[in-house]
């Protein structure tokens, strides 16, 4: 069951970037995502996380997304989640990820 994670970073403009996640974002494969988040440059205004090639996410992966949202709140950049399939969207909704992100965004305004 050696599922891998690949995180590709692309830069749309000077202050916007995308992290595209492919494969399993879980306990055993977090390092590429952590590296991807670390590579977000100072002064970035918007980070898009593209889940269109995500195959599986567990609680550790969800925790990493929430931590990114907290980081965004501290560093004053926006996080947008795109390309989620209905199952992943439902899991995020059940756990309360969208509510936390909305609350942090409101707090940061």
């Amino acid at each position: 069951m050696g599922e891998d994670l690949m995180v590709r970073k692309s830069k749309e403009s000077r202050d916007e970037c995308t992290l595209k996640i492919s494969g399993y974002l879980d306990y055993s494969s977090m390092e590429p995502f952590i590296q991807g988040v670390r590579s977000i440059e100072e002064g970035t205004k918007k980070v898009t996380i593209n889940f269109s090639e995500l195959e599986f996410i567990d609680s550790t992966g969800i925790g990493a997304i929430i931590n990114l949202a907290h980081k965004a709140n501290d560093k004053q950049f926006e996080v947008e989640l795109v390309g989620m399939n209905p199952e992943v969207r439902e899991v995020f909704d059940t756990i309360g990820v969208f509510e936390i992100m909305a609350s942090l965004q409101k707090e940061g305004m």
Binding site: M1, E3, D26, Y27, S28, D58, S59, T60, I62, G63, I66, N67, D93, T94, I95, G96, E99, I100, S103
Partner: protein, 275 residues
Amino acid sequence: MFRREMLFETKTDYANKTLEREIKLARNIQMELLNGSQPTLEKGQVTGYSLPARLIGGDYYDFHVLPNGKLRIIIGDVMGKGIPAAMLMILTRGAFRSAAESTQGPSETLTAMNKALYSDLRTLNSFVTVLCADWNPETNVLSYASAGHNLPLVVKSNQDIEEVPKVKGVMLGGLPQNTYKENFVQLLDEQLVFFYTDGITEAQNSDGDMFQTERLRKVLQQNYAEAVEDIENSVIESLDNFTENVQQKDDITMVLLKVHQGQTKVSSYNSPVLN
């Protein structure tokens, strides 16, 4: 040089053995706390089961018999795996036991638990999903609130199974001042409530296929008429057959409550029946 290497090896062996022994002791503590005594119900049955994917895990379930005769049930899943998750699971257990004593219902319990745990969970970049439910043996009403946890299934017959009416709430450790909504379901004679963590539906076989909710629903329906311990064993057996004993990534936890109509009372763990 040889002597130094020998000495180093001996020290490493000693450290490894000590670590191994301590993890085993930690596992024993966790298994004792988790799979300890379960309340006896008059004209009703409840059971719980938790199997960590590693030596120790982050899943949790517990029961608390309230002075008014209701049975409070909690099931939860700590973010992460292994020892770090197990440490937070113990913290969660303490928060539940303390909150259960002083709160009126599931939503109040979750609000109190979140208040108690938020700061620590945020500091540790972690969270816990839990579902808390109160079963009233007099009315057979199950009220419940969720902090990011999946909803239980109600098995009404061997043909009819559904999730309880929807309610949602943010996981513990998500928002500091969060409050939780409550919903309820009226249970009827012989209906079964199945609480679980996602380690069951996400159990994988060697091809990487997941057990999924559909297989779970099927095994619950097929064994609906059995006693809760037998239904629990059927779920475990079905999981074993599906996974063919492939090492699982996630802990597996379930709580089963089967109710009977009539004058049902909750017995405390060791004390006489409460009136």
